[in-house]
């Protein structure tokens, strides 16, 4: 049996990499940040919940050194939600999905609605400019600040290396 397309029919789907990027940004943004960004954005369309929001556990797997045997690292709490926008053309309603860390059901639902709205070419530019780009910039600078703080306390084992 052919694999049914989970989201959009071919031809209308946006670039997968672009979608992965905005889904990653949405998953890392907290509810308060999302709400603050949405104040400058056009209002979101009505939606129907298809699944969830529901909280469960996801097993994280790791590999020692990046190429060892896979092992189960730990479980993490994840909340997921899938929604359908109500104003799409019949049979082609946009479906949005979100998986976010933690138990914030409102965050998962809002992220899913934003994902679905971003699939709509008419809404995408405004939402990208008002929500995704500012959040991506804030997340990048937070990650950079963290990396700088960590780099300042880095210990270099030059001595041991040269004694060998």
């Amino acid at each position: 049996m052919p694999e049914p397309a989970p989201t959009q029919p071919p031809g209308t789907s946006p670039d997968t990499a672009a979608r992965q990027r905005w889904m990653a940004v949405l998953a890392r943004a907290g509810l308060a940040e999302l709400r603050a960004r949405l104040e400058d954005a056009p209002p979101l369309p009505p939606h129907t919940r298809l699944r969830g929001p529901e909280t469960g556990l996801v097993m994280l797997r790791g590999r020692a050194g990046g190429d060892g045997a896979a092992f189960n690292l730990s479980e993490m709490t994840v909340t997921r939600c899938s929604v359908r926008l109500e104003d799409g053309p019949a049979g082609q309603a946009h479906l949005g999905h979100a998986y976010v860390a933690g138990r914030d059901r409102a965050q998962a639902e809002l992220a899913a609605v934003l994902d679905a709205a971003l699939l709509d070419p008419a809404r995408r530019p405004a939402l990208l400019a008002a929500v995704i780009e500012p959040l991506a910039r804030a997340q990048a600078s937070a990650a950079e600040a963290e990396a700088r703080k960590a780099a300042a306390t880095r210990v270099q084992f030059f001595t041991m290396a040269t004694m060998r």
Binding site: M1, P4, P6, T48, R49, L50, R51, E54, S82, R84, A90, G91, Q92, A93, L95
Partner: protein
């Protein structure tokens, strides 16, 4: 267009399981499932609720209900969909069932592996032309089934000598279900 699944996955699946359990324990007694499910056509609420209750990632499902229904089942139940009836644990049939010899009937060592046929029919009510007897029935239950495929009862009766191997049937219509476990003897008239 993708439709929502159970409103409350835990409680709705529990009510669905209770209804299937009652139906299997009392063959031919009609059980009502809670309404509210809006599956894609041609699935009716009872058929969809039984599959959402029973099917999961470990139970391959064969479906003849079309792409929209298959996509819906895959999304909400998370079940693998198979093209061959022989590989399926649950068969969701809205039209003519596949030849019953093709269906997995389990083995003598593990008869519980036999497939379950979820058969959607036009209407279902107690009291009628079918006379049911066997385990779970004190004397006789009567069942009226509209839209049962031609020759289905004869094909099902032909599997009886294979017991304990066999196939269980859940009949679904609207929001009502009734079961015909493999031990139930069905006579017409």
């Amino acid at each position: 267009m993708m439709q929502p699944g159970f409103h409350d996955p835990v409680l709705d699946a529990q009510s669905g399981f209770r209804a299937v359990l009652e139906a299997m324990s009392r063959p031919g007694r009609v059980q009502a499932l809670p309404p509210g499910l809006t599956p894609p056509a041609p699935l009716q609420p009872a058929t969809a609720a039984v599959l959402l209750t029973l099917a999961d990632a470990e139970t391959p499902v064969f479906s003849d209900a079309g792409t929209a229904a298959a996509e819906w089942l895959r999304f909400h139940a998370g079940c693998p969909l198979v093209a061959s009836p022989a590989a399926a644990t649950f068969l969701c049939v809205t039209g003519t069932p596949p030849a019953l010899e093709e269906i997995d009937l389990g083995t003598d060592e593990a008869p519980q592996d036999g497939a379950t046929l979820v058969l959607q029919v036009a209407a279902l009510r107690e009291g009628g032309a079918l006379r049911l007897s066997g385990p779970g029935i004190e004397r006789e239950h009567r069942l009226h089934v509209e839209g049962l495929p031609e020759g289905f009862l004869a094909a099902r009766a032909a599997l009886a000598p294979l017991y304990p191997r066999g196939m269980d049937v859940i009949l679904c219509a609207g929001t009502r279900i009734a079961a015909l476990p493999r031990t139930t003897h069905v006579m017409e008239g």
